[in-house]
């Protein structure tokens, strides 16, 4: 009360806000994700590990851990990131950024290779992908850099200045993991877009982005091949997984075959609990279920939008924007890939796809979003 009086003076009463809608939407999505993971993975789990709930248990542990982290983080003020640490005298956000860079370097050298990519760091029985954490670091760090001097972004040189700060981590991620790098690039551009008053240079930057993207796609053989697969999905021998996903989606019809009744998950779609999980959702729950899931995501994004525009300061607003962009772009790309709308790339569906580190860091991110919401003050009507 005293604090508010000291602030603007004119406004009398402010209440602390907490976005319970977002919290429950996220909890619901995590719960739904566990159900779908059990549905999609039980066959393969039984076959490979003799335990139908093998994947469910693992994901469940990470879900609980992630929810704990989310609630814990949401209790702190996100502006803690800006506080300089004792002794080493650098801000927490800078340290976070540096740690992530360290991890990315570490993974490049010592990482565990899974399916041809060096992306994993072993931690006892579990492994985690540091790139998931790097996304969070990028969001927070870029927001921090921008809010130091927001007006500079009005010029292209200002944008480039931010880009120079973000580039090291981006490059470290993009080397082993193109798709995550792409996501981070979009997040970066999204934050800058929101922070900037001028729009013209975004067109220039957009063109540059397209050129860079094209270089990455056509410069590397296997990505060029993906374009061919995308165009000839029904005949290309390597289009098998996506085609099987399409079969699953299409056989769902309007109301689906019913939960647990998918045929395509019985080995036809390899690892259907991972990136392809949305196709099984379509098969089991139909168009109705699929659109409901999309609506749930829209609701989450809507809540993030509300947080972003009501954030007490630009730092919070930009972080919320980054999170919003992150969730949106993953959902959009995942569904677009599964429906063969764009060439395939491995992006998990947030909260639902199997993947421990992805889920934990996503929930960590949502914790930050909730923390921002917790700092929103509003007048009592």
């Amino acid at each position: 009360m005293r604090r508010s009086e000291r602030g603007k003076g004119r406004r009398k009463l402010f209440h602390t806000y907490y976005d319970y809608s977002l919290l429950f939407l996220v909890l619901f999505l995590v719960g739904f994700g566990l159900i779908m993971i059990y549905s999609t993975s039980s066959f393969n789990a039984e076959r490979n590990f003799g335990d139908a709930a093998y994947y469910l248990k693992k994901q469940g542990i990470f879900g609980l851990l992630g929810i704990g982290v989310m609630l814990f983080v949401s209790m702190f003020d996100y502006r803690l990131f800006l506080k300089p640490l004792p002794i080493i005298r650098i801000r927490l956000v800078t340290l976070f950024y540096l740690i992530c860079m360290g991890l990315q370097v570490y993974v490049l050298i010592f990482g565990r290779v899974v399916k041809g990519s060096k992306r994993w760091i072993d931690l006892g029985p579990f492994g985690f992908q540091p790139s998931e954490l790097s996304k969070v670091a990028l969001i927070v760090f870029v927001s921090y850099i921008i809010q130091l001097a927001p007006r500079k972004l009005d010029k292209f040189s200002g944008f480039m200045r931010v880009a120079v700060f973000a580039a090291p981590l981006l490059l470290l991620v993009v080397i082993p993991n193109f798709s995550t790098g792409l996501i981070m690039g979009v997040i970066f551009v999204g934050i800058c877009f929101v922070a900037s008053r001028k729009k013209l240079y975004f067109i220039v930057a957009g063109l540059l982005g397209v050129a860079a993207g094209a270089f990455f796609i056509f410069g590397v053989d296997y990505r060029g091949e993906r374009i061919e697969i995308w165009r000839d999905i029904e005949t290309h021998p390597k289009g098998y997984q996506i085609l099987q996903g399409l079969y699953a989606i299409a056989s769902g019809g309007v109301f689906g075959k019913g939960l647990g009744q998918s045929m395509q998950k019985l080995g036809f779609i390899p690892e259907s609990h991972n990136d392809m999980i949305f196709s099984v959702i379509c098969e089991e729950l139909g168009l109705f279920g699929a659109v409901s899931v999309i609506l749930l995501y829209i609701l989450v994004i809507w809540r993030l939008f509300i947080i972003a525009i009501n954030a007490p300061d630009l730092f919070g607003g930009l972080i919320a924007t980054g999170i919003l962009t992150h969730i949106s772009i993953q959902v959009l790309i995942n569904i677009a890939v599964v429906t063969n709308t764009i060439p395939s790339t491995g992006i998990p569906l947030p909260f639902i796809s199997y993947g421990g580190s992805s889920l934990v860091f996503l929930l960590f991110e949502m914790g930050i979003a909730l923390s921002i919401s917790n700092q929103i003050k509003y007048e009592k009507a």
């Binding site: 019809g253 019985l266 829209i298 939008f305 525009i309």
Partner: protein
């Protein structure tokens, strides 16, 4: 700290709206896929999920003319393993190898092979399969199947034929009537995972198999057995290569029996019979050699092989000559034992010649010079006209696979010498069945019948689906000629070369033949006899061929009695009643005797033995020496007391 300005908020809104628009587009894409492409993709997905498992259809049965089952099905099982479902591989390997008599290595290889379904053994006996099923081993499948089973074993083996691993006909009637006998396999449509494992409790779609239709054939199991017995007896006695007997109705071409001894076991068609392996080491046979031997064993020589018919062909020449009116029965001929044709001297079988004789006598004596003369009178044009009419240029059209064509001189190449030899049945080749058809036409009033076995097709409920009809051609020779020929051929049996086929009470007609096999220098023969009865209204015609008999090889001596013996059994069986003439009664009231064993006895002993039995016929001794080494008729045969005995001495 920087504030969250209005333009920042507006920008967030733009981002948010972009996301909503993109999400809507994706929802649209989903709608397209899930509603408009649903049918197409779902059908293709279903194709992937559904696995068809065939249910074998039972093959149709084959019945003889009296309804005896000749070919049926025996339930057997196919044992296979599904790799993914096997939980105790060691136990499975041990059980299957011991129960099925397979090596453990063989079974192990299949059990450990990562395939959706691996067949271990098919045609497993039902009892063994049931034992395996009752052990309830995970991943071991026991599927019901059928195996063809022939209750009579080797009866008419070359006629009936057998089936292969997929129950398809391979030789004989089984292949000829495949389209009727073969059923339509049913299917079980099941849902499977990507690894081919059936999903339990998933709705199954089942299409029931449709059993094949049954076939009724004109063969008579008992007549076949009579004929086979007689054939086997003479085969052994004469150490012949093989003996063929065909019994047919001359009126409609129904084949009652078709014997080709040695026969093979239809239930084990891939085992070479003993007579084929006697002189060879089977273990050194290459696959191809073995296959060649098998093909030879399965071959139905009665219609697949040709031979020089020899004297029995004189039936055709005589019928043509009488029909054309170039000869009368009492025309006079002279046989000096040979006839000079152009620069060649063609011998008669009787070295000294038959001397002066009528045409009638010429037929009874089977005199070659008489027929050379008659042939010359006919000329090749006329002769070939009757060949054509009697079906000798065509296949008979019998409903069995593998029928051979005759081998004839080209008409323009036939000079006097060829004409002379053709006239008494040499220098060309026909199948035994062709001769039988031509002879049938001569004695049935001039009707060419299609020899056949198949009579009707019935479905599994026993209703007739199709009566099998066969073409006939009438008036190929006149009735009068036919009557004359019957009279002549009856005389051949009662008074001529064929008298060893004589059956008191039954009017048997026939003609003997002794064909030299090519090359003639090897002195190998086919003795044959074609006979029919009753002579006034033939109901049965039969042909016997004895291939390469050892010792006596005259058709009249060794082949005629075979037909006599068969007819003696078959005619009463067919319901043809014996009617004895007064003459016969008088003659045969004297009774019959059973021929004793005369081998290794000298002339005196033979005489004493036969006297004791009251034998009154004539004994012909052939060869030089004192000891009997061969006798005809054979021991145990019933003969009348006045009939002749032929004994070979050494």
């Amino acid at each position: 700290m920087a504030r969250n300005k209005t333009y920042n908020k507006r920008n967030v809104l733009i981002v948010f709206l972009c996301v909503v628009i993109a999400a809507s587009l994706l929802a649209g894409r989903l709608t397209y896929l899930m509603i408009f492409r649903s049918k197409d993709y779902a059908a293709r997905a279903e194709d992937l999920h559904e696995r068809e498992r065939p249910i074998k259809a039972a093959r149709g049965l084959i019945y003889d003319r009296n309804g005896q089952i000749i070919a049926t099905n025996k339930p057997v099982s196919t044992i296979s393993v599904i790799h993914a479902q096997v939980t105790e591989p060691e136990k499975v390997i041990e059980v299957l190898s011991s129960k099925l008599g397979l090596s453990t290595d063989y079974v192990r290889k299949r059990v450990e092979k990562n395939s959706s379904l691996e067949r271990i053994k098919s045609n497993v006996e039902k009892e063994i399969a049931d034992e395996i099923r009752n052990m309830k081993l995970d991943g071991v499948m026991v599927d019901e199947d059928y195996k063809r089973y022939y209750p009579y074993g080797d009866l008419a083996s070359k006629v009936i034929g057998f089936t292969g691993a997929d129950n398809q006909g391979i030789v004989g009637l089984e292949v000829e009537y495949e389209k009727y006998l073969k059923g339509i396999d049913g299917t079980i449509l099941t849902l499977t995972t990507a690894y081919g494992v059936e999903i339990k409790n998933a709705a199954e779609e089942r299409i029931e198999p449709k059993p094949g239709n049954n076939l009724k054939i004109s063969l008579d199991v008992n007549m076949q057995k009579y004929a086979e017995q007689a054939a086997k007896k003479v085969l052994e006695a004469k150490e012949a290569n093989n003996v063929k007997i065909i019994l047919m109705s001359p009126q409609n071409g129904e084949i009652f029996a078709m014997v080709n001894v040695p026969e093979f076991d239809l239930n084990e068609p891939f085992n070479l019979i003993e007579s084929m392996t006697r002189d060879i080491e089977t273990s050194v046979l290459s696959d191809k050699e073995k296959q060649d031997l098998l093909n030879q064993m399965w071959r139905n020589a009665s219609l697949s092989d040709t031979y020089e018919p020899g004297s029995s062909f004189k039936i055709v020449t005589a019928a043509a000559a009488i029909e054309e009116g170039v000869v009368d029965l009492d025309d006079q001929f002279f046989c000096p034992g040979y006839k000079i044709v152009e620069d060649r001297r063609i011998r008669c079988h009787k070295v000294g010649g038959h001397g002066s004789q009528t045409f009638y006598d010429g037929i009874l004596n089977s005199c070659n010079p008489v027929f050379m003369e008659v042939g010359a009178r006919l000329g090749i044009d006329n002769l070939y006209k009757y060949f054509r009419q009697l079906g000798l240029f065509n296949k008979t059209g019998v409903d069995l696979p593998g029928e051979a064509s005759s081998i004839m001189h080209k008409k323009e190449n036939v000079e006097a010498v060829e004409l002379a030899t053709i006239s008494f049945g040499q220098s060309f080749q026909i199948t035994p069945l062709q001769l039988l058809v031509a002879a049938s036409a001569v004695v049935n009033g001039g009707k060419i019948v299609t020899p056949h076995l198949g009579m009707e097709v019935t479905n599994s409920e026993g209703n007739t689906i199709k009566k099998l009809e066969y073409p006939e051609k009438t008036n190929v020779i006149s009735k009068e000629t036919s009557e004359t020929m019957k009279m002549l051929l009856e005389a051949v049996v009662s008074d001529g070369t064929g008298k060893r086929a004589y059956l008191p009470g039954f009017r048997v007609g026939g003609k003997t033949a002794t064909s030299e096999k090519l090359p003639r220098s090897e002195n190998k023969y086919i003795s044959s006899f074609i006979g029919f009865a009753p002579a006034d209204n033939p109901q049965l015609i039969g042909l016997v061929l004895i291939d390469e008999p050892v010792g006596i090889y005259y058709g009249g001596t060794i082949a005629a009695p075979v037909i006599g013996e068969v007819f003696d059994n078959v005619l009463p069986y067919m319901g043809v009643e014996a009617s004895y003439t007064e003459e016969e009664k008088e003659e045969y009231d004297l009774g019959t005797i059973v021929v004793p064993n005369l081998l290794n006895k000298d002339k005196n002993e033979v005489k004493k033995l036969l006297n004791d039995l009251g034998y009154m016929g004539e004994i012909y001794y052939l060869g030089e020496g004192e000891i009997v080494v061969e006798q005809f008729p054979l021991m145990g045969e019933k003969i009348d007391k006045t009939s002749d005995l032929i004994l070979y001495l050494q």
